[in-house]
């Protein structure tokens, strides 16, 4: 039997896609449904002994103070981290655009933390912020300010962790904004200047609207990142993960603790479903709210 050219092309396409498709079905799609399934069962290592509990885990979530804490904290991290990261990122990108010397050097310096392992970075900051003999407190004392407990204080720990994450992600944000700024045609600014526009008005009417696609992308990516905060939280306070007094506990850390320290895999799966729903919803809403097309 001879195959037509089109049939031959289709056949090759299936050959090329076979392994990738098998991978995504088996390691991504199947586990997603399995997580949904597991959330309806009381976990047991022996599959035959797993008891069906229906929506019981989800009901339990409503009354679980630790879950509520983790959820609130996760929102706090996002509400604090995303705007800080975007604001600082944009400010630095605008400054970088203005200077003519050493731009590549500055860009590299700001970007460097982004490529370094978050685990090691968290330990470095944990030493920097140590209440006794930490460099930050030494500097505070030097300039006459009282030393702070930072990660040891239930009120300061969450903003402190957020700062470390912002510090590490800042360069990524700067580079994105810089690329966005550079893609805005010079002529727009020149034309506006001839019409008497300057400074803030140029920013407000040209830079800001034309930066919108980069902004939307950044908000969505950053939000998804903060909703999944784990590595920094664990390593910044390793001996009391999520502490002090659960003030830094996140959903991702709570999932880890439930599943792999207490072996309540079914209940943990229910929390992952909530996290999934959250990320899904927030992404949809943000795309809706922020995507205002700019026509040129």
């Amino acid at each position: 039997m001879r195959l037509s050219l089109g049939q031959r092309e289709a056949l090759w396409a299936y050959v090329f896609l076979a392994i990738p498709l098998a991978f995504f079905l088996y390691f991504r799609i199947f586990p997603t449904f399995q997580a949904l399934g597991l959330s309806l069962y009381e976990w047991h290592a022996d599959p035959g002994a797993r008891k069906f509990v229906g929506l019981e885990h989800y009901e339990r979530l409503l009354e679980d103070p630790l879950f509520r804490r983790a959820l609130t904290n996760t929102f706090l991290y996002t509400l604090l981290g995303v705007p800080s990261q975007l604001f600082l990122g944009l400010a630095i990108a605008l400054l970088l655009q203005r200077v003519k010397v050493a731009r590549d050097f500055f860009r590299a310096v700001y970007f460097a933390p982004y490529v370094t392992p978050a685990v090691a970075v968290a330990w470095v900051w944990s030493w920097m912020l140590s209440p006794h003999f930490g460099l930050v407190n030494e500097i505070l004392t030097l300039v006459g300010l009282p030393p702070q407990p930072f990660l040891q204080s239930p009120t300061q720990a969450l903003p402190t962790v957020t700062w470390v994450v912002v510090w590490q992600n800042l360069g990524f944000q700067v580079v994105l904004f810089l690329a966005g700024l550079e893609s805005i045609p010079r002529q727009y600014y020149e034309a506006a200047r001839i019409d008497g526009g300057e400074g803030w008005r140029l920013f407000r009417h040209i830079t800001w609207p034309l930066l919108n696609p980069v902004l939307v992308f950044s908000v969505v990516i950053a939000t998804i990142g903060y909703l999944q905060l784990f590595t920094q939280v664990v390593n910044l306070n390793f001996t009391d993960q999520g502490g002090p007094l659960n003030s830094t506990l996140t959903l991702a850390l709570y999932i880890y603790q439930l599943a792999f320290l207490r072996f309540q895999l079914g209940y943990a799966a229910a929390v992952t479903v909530v996290l999934f729903a959250l990320i899904f919803l927030i992404t949809l809403v943000q795309l809706r709210v922020f995507t205002r097309k700019v026509e040129l």
Partner: protein
């Protein structure tokens, strides 16, 4: 007017310099601390009085550090090679070949981007326990062997190429795989480089899944090794900073050599994606 502009430029430079200080200081403090003997940690001097490499010696010879480093290198290399090959092949197929079900397959793969890793690690763990993948290299590797984002990215790039190139190659008698390998791939090299860098970094720095699947010290990857070692080291910050330096400095050196490519890669993947 001109003077005012100059003053503004100077102020911008000053602010940027100050900011750079905040970015660099932790790394500097890390290196300085790593060169101090233990008692000097508490003397409030910025520079080490009697600098020593003893901390590095202890980390390199007294822990599993070399092994963790090699484990991470192996995991990151294999996953990167796999992602580069399969993601570009799948991206090419979805962009350039016509066949029934093309859009369904694409949406199917893309939809997995919405699922957070936290949701997958529990089923992955259950699966690994059943199949005996716990504490094995395959167990460490399998989640990273392909990436939906990479397929999406490569598809975007393959779509921009002119069809004539591929038609000409077929007329010249190249096989379907030859068209992809010899004509398509060389034209998307910048995208491949960017994807490669990102995949490598992502797997090199990964923490959550390795923490779950690894059970013995010999199988630890670098991040897991650093975290557990530092957890045990207590207040021996000089040792912890030596270990952190050993994890961070190689990455920084590579970064400063390839910073232009790496940063352009971010822009390429970030804005196309």
């Amino acid at each position: 007017m001109r003077a005012q502009r100059r003053l503004g430029d100077l102020l911008a430079l000053l602010l940027l310099g100050l900011g750079s200080g905040v970015m660099v200081l932790p790394f500097l403090w890390m290196i300085l601390t790593s060169l101090k003997p233990f008692p000097e940690l508490f003397t409030l001097r910025f520079l080490p009085q009697e600098p020593t490499l003893e901390n590095y010696r202890q980390v390199l010879w007294g822990t599993g550090f070399p092994r963790w480093f090699l484990n991470s290198l192996l995991v990151a290399t294999v996953t990167t090679a796999s992602v580069l090959f399969f993601d570009s092949l799948a991206g090419y197929t979805l962009a350039r070949l016509r066949f029934p079900g093309r859009n369904v397959f694409f949406v199917l793969i893309l939809s997995t981007l919405m699922v957070p890793t936290e949701m997958l690690v529990i089923p992955w763990y259950v699966m690994s326990a059943e199949k005996g993948w716990i504490n094995t290299y395959f167990g460490l590797l399998f989640p990273g062997l392909m990436s939906a984002f990479g397929i999406f990215l490569m598809r975007q790039f393959f779509e921009t190429l002119p069809q004539d190139l591929f038609d000409a190659a077929r007329i010249d008698g190249l096989s379907e795989f030859g068209v992809f390998w010899r004509v398509g791939l060389p034209l998307v090299r910048p995208a491949l480089a960017a994807l490669g860098i990102f995949t490598f970094l992502g797997n090199w720095n990964a923490f959550l899944w390795p923490l779950i699947v690894v059970q013995t010290p010999q199988m630890r990857t670098l991040p897991v090794g650093i975290a557990l070692f530092s957890g045990e080291a207590g207040t021996a910050w000089n040792l912890i900073m030596a270990a952190s330096s050993l994890a961070i400095l190689p990455v920084l050196v590579v970064f400063f050599f390839f910073q232009r490519q790496i940063i352009e890669g971010v822009v390429l993947t970030g804005l196309k994606g």
